[in-house]
Symmetry: C2
Subunit: 333 residues, 2 copies
């Protein structure tokens, strides 16, 4: 129970950062201790299968660039894909609030159909529950999925070594910023679309033994993912600020609100660790794919700063990339 200073669940427990890790390690793993679960990966590797689950509670349900349906497909497809597996089958579990418009449900189902076609996955089983008004917020969707591993050995952070390079397939922080703008109560106006997309087609085009590790930086953004990777390792990760793809709109909103683009959620990005000599060829493959046109080599694995992620700023100084306490906003996904 160390690290849990409250006896009630708070929104921060769901933010995907330090507090989420605390409750998973302190409470869930106290009772559920399967060795595969304890690896805390995005999915479970079971012989030649990968099995993954995610519940989606995003607010608002419809946002620029997507909706909860596209998000539910993309989120689980991406969790499977970054494990080096081809997503094959998805299940969908709907919890719907009484009074929800059937026309909205139809829009969501159309998004689900489109995204599953883009990803090449089959939706093979489902479940629907309805709860009373005031016991949900429109609709929540769980998606679970099964994939078939294509890489042996599978990608693993234990394969990362100093000298490896770090790639990303495009601009960061778009999903987090799009949700921020869509929550009109904040009074921000900007023309930003979420990047939500199923990444399997892109990942399929780069998958090879020289890809050592992949992760999709969702809740808590790149900062959360990089900190998970370096934890307990004898290497560090250095990102180069001038190489980080950040759009003017995202940079502007971050400046006004004091946010860090490294901490903002993405739903169509994958960070890839590649052997140095293969990085250029992986970059070219990414750039030739519609989901990777703005791909960049954004950093390197180093034996300086062991156990830390750092940013080399455009001024030449280094600053620590902190593990975020959680998402800046609740219900980003």
């Amino acid at each position: 129970m160390r690290g849990i200073n409250t006896d009630k669940i708070t929104l921060a427990h769901g933010g995907g950062g330090k507090k989420t890790e605390d409750i998973i390690r302190g409470i869930f793993q106290k009772y559920l201790n399967d060795p595969v679960l304890a690896e805390m990966d995005d999915g479970a590797v079971l012989e030649d299968l990968v099995f993954s689950t995610d519940s989606f509670v995003v607010n608002p349900i419809f946002f620029p660039g997507g909706d909860i349906g596209r998000l539910a497909i993309s989120g689980t497809v991406n969790d499977i894909a970054v494990m080096g597996a081809r997503p094959l089958y998805l299940s969908l579990g709907f919890i719907i609030e009484e009074g929800f418009e059937i026309s909205s449900l139809e829009k969501i189902l159309i998004s689900i159909k489109e995204a599953s076609e883009e990803a090449g996955v089959r939706i093979v089983t489902g479940d629907t529950k309805v709860v009373e008004k005031g016991k949900a917020d429109g609709i929540y969707i769980n998606s679970s999925g099964i994939g078939k591993t294509l890489l042996s050995p599978p990608p693993s952070r234990y394969r990362i070594e100093p000298g490896d390079l770090v790639l990303i397939n495009g601009e960061i922080g778009l999903h987090g910023t799009a949700i921020l703008v869509a929550r009109e109560e904040l009074g921000i106006k900007a023309d930003i679309k979420s990047d939500v997309a199923p990444l399997w087609p892109l990942i399929e085009s780069i998958i090879s033994p020289s890809v050592k590790f992949m992760r999709d930086p969702t809740r808590g953004g790149l900062a959360a993912v990089l900190n998970e990777i370096v934890e307990g390792m004898n290497f560090g990760i250095r990102l180069w600020e001038e190489k980080l793809p950040v759009s003017q709109e995202v940079a502007g909103i971050c400046e006004v609100l004091g946010f860090d683009p490294l901490q903002l959620a993405n739903e169509g990005k994958v960070v890839v660790f590649v052997k140095k000599e293969d990085a250029e060829s992986v970059l070219e493959k990414m750039k030739s794919h519609p989901l990777g046109k703005q791909a960049e080599i954004i950093g390197e694995v180093t034996d300086e700063f062991p156990g830390k992620a750092v940013l080399k700023t455009t001024l030449g100084t280094h600053r620590i990339i902190e593990q975020p306490m959680g998402e800046l906003l609740p219900r980003i996904c």
Copy 2:
């Protein structure tokens, strides 16, 4: 859209009966039409795997005989088991309302641990989301699972023939009645416990090619399951009222409230269709298992009444067992 006379989701759409079928066929299948999904089984048969999902929104979270944790494990284990598959791996997706007591979460996790041990399944992946106060009702849990098929050909309602006998492993209506009593607003007092249990150990003991079909009668009870089985078939099912295991407590509550025990939910029952000559031996195996002590042969498949389920009453008359419109209560599971 035929059969949907409203443009909003109603509680009845979640009841597991006629209205749920309407929305699945009229809305979901309009967009999602994978042939495996269209079979509308409790799980998807994928080569040698069975894949199943269920979300649990039961109210109250803790009830006599169990809680939402035991229910989440049992529900998905049973859906896999009735497909003739050994449940192997489960995922859990939690949606928790801000302010939920961590001590309650711990109780639920203990139930989950116990039920998964009873079932012999591993919990290998999970996800936790937190929503604001008033956007859930304490806790909702999705469980999805993977099993390995043991029977080839798999159990199928298309294998059922006139002459086959119908077995059940014990008293019906216990889960539905326990939830009814636990909702104190109805002012009923009775000493009834839910039958919620993972049935795999019982099913493993009876599984054989002479078991033609199995189903767990949850939402909508035996009435819903039997109607699904006979739909479009050239056989009927006749239950014998005097053989139906109904406890005095359940019978009493049904009499007072005008409910039909055939329509009440079960969470630890399996209805089994067996070749006549093997029925006694399957019955003996059931009775020798702790989960089947009160097992009975409750009816027969007949070429009378094609496409219908009927009850032969203790008076010798026949009455049609109607397809329920849905569960009598919302959020039974």
